[in-house]
Symmetry: C2
Subunit: 225 residues, 2 copies
């Protein structure tokens, strides 16, 4: 988590993966972490905060999941009313999402995510604007990924191959689209790592059916329809 | 919120209604509250906590939303391994959901919810096991409501008319089914109070399409199909 994160981007996959841990007798454990270590992290939604219980440690993780930010989307050409100062963890109402995402570049997060991306034993996952955190850090060049539909052009502009799908599987990089696709992403990770029976049990418990095909660069490319 | 609440039951409608506030230029404001006032409230999922910023005050609210609990569902006949002591806010791993819900009866919550139900200007909403919190407090007798599919029989046994639907509208009582139907419930409340354009904008932003018919006791009763 980072300041300005989107609460649902975090809580939806957290709770899905946690339930997968219960359903699998403990094959999954989940922790909320930040680049800085244990601290209150303030979201971009109404000042709601979640506590990071530790520091992100790629070597200790099998999956590292990056959330997006929540705030204003803004109209084309609109500029922030206030100067964006560095640091300062107080919540400011309705900051612009790309500003919140870009601010992660001034933290330790890009270095930690680079280690995670370089480690063949770690799967990096991202929900919503989380893909843009990775992309702005220069980590998605040539990779297939998705993000919130409003961010697909920006993702493409970073050298990634942006795909419009709820979930995109690019091997050790698995990304989800807008906010609630974090549920689909969490369920897909459970299926991929633990199998369909655990994933289905959690899906039923949560009353959420995954939607859409998980896109992956396999099989013949489709002709234009 | 109460100790052992389900994080998604809270965060999903919170974020939907918050976005509805932004989309409507401030027609909605949302606050996380508890019966006891400002405090850290520990959920039933991995010790994740959210901060209540105030006390539930039915007279100050247009809508009061009650979440469910998260923990173990249990098999028929299974009994808890440990004695359930009173009080004590420390999180215990995987308590039984009905135990967590029942514990609210020893707090100020039932009295506050009774005031909310008695006030014609207040709509009471509940997600997942939240309906059972109301039902166990004796507040749903003769009312139409839904809850998590595993709790429908229990809801019926309290004298409520349990309906298997994602959202049930019984006038000043609007209830949602399992966990993620909190998204549908939040979007429906936005549509009912602010109209379909605001609800649709939030739905699109969140990449979640509401599913199913909102059940309500209007129109002819269907013949058996």
């Amino acid at each position: 988590m980072f300041d300005g994160f989107d609460p649902l981007d975090v809580v939806a996959p957290y709770e899905v993966l946690y339930a997968g841990g219960v359903a699998s007798g403990g094959a999954v454990t989940v922790e909320l972490v930040s680049a800085e270590g244990p601290r209150e992290v303030i979201s971009g939604t109404g000042g709601l905060a979640l506590r990071a219980v530790g520091a992100l440690d790629p070597e200790r993780s099998d999956v590292v999941l990056v959330p997006g930010a929540s705030g204003r989307v803004g109209e084309p050409g609109e500029v922030p009313e206030e100067e964006v100062g560095a640091g300062g963890r107080e919540w400011r109402r309705d900051e612009f999402v790309p500003v919140l995402l870009g601010r992660t570049l001034t933290t330790e997060l890009p270095a930690l995510l680079t280690r995670a991306m370089d480690d063949p034993d770690v799967t990096v996952a991202a929900v919503c604007g989380g893909s843009l955190v990775l992309a702005m850090a220069g980590l998605l060049e040539g990779r297939h990924a998705t993000t919130h539909h409003l961010g697909l052009d920006m993702l493409d502009a970073t050298g990634a191959h942006a795909v419009r799908a709820r979930v995109v599987d690019d091997g050790d990089l698995v990304t989800g689209a807008g906010v609630t696709s974090g549920l689909d992403l969490g369920l897909y990770l459970l299926e991929r790592e633990l199998g369909p029976r655990v994933a289905h049990a959690v899906e039923e418990l949560f009353a959420h059916e995954r939607r859409g095909t998980v896109w992956s660069a396999r099989g013949p490319a489709p002709a234009t329809l």
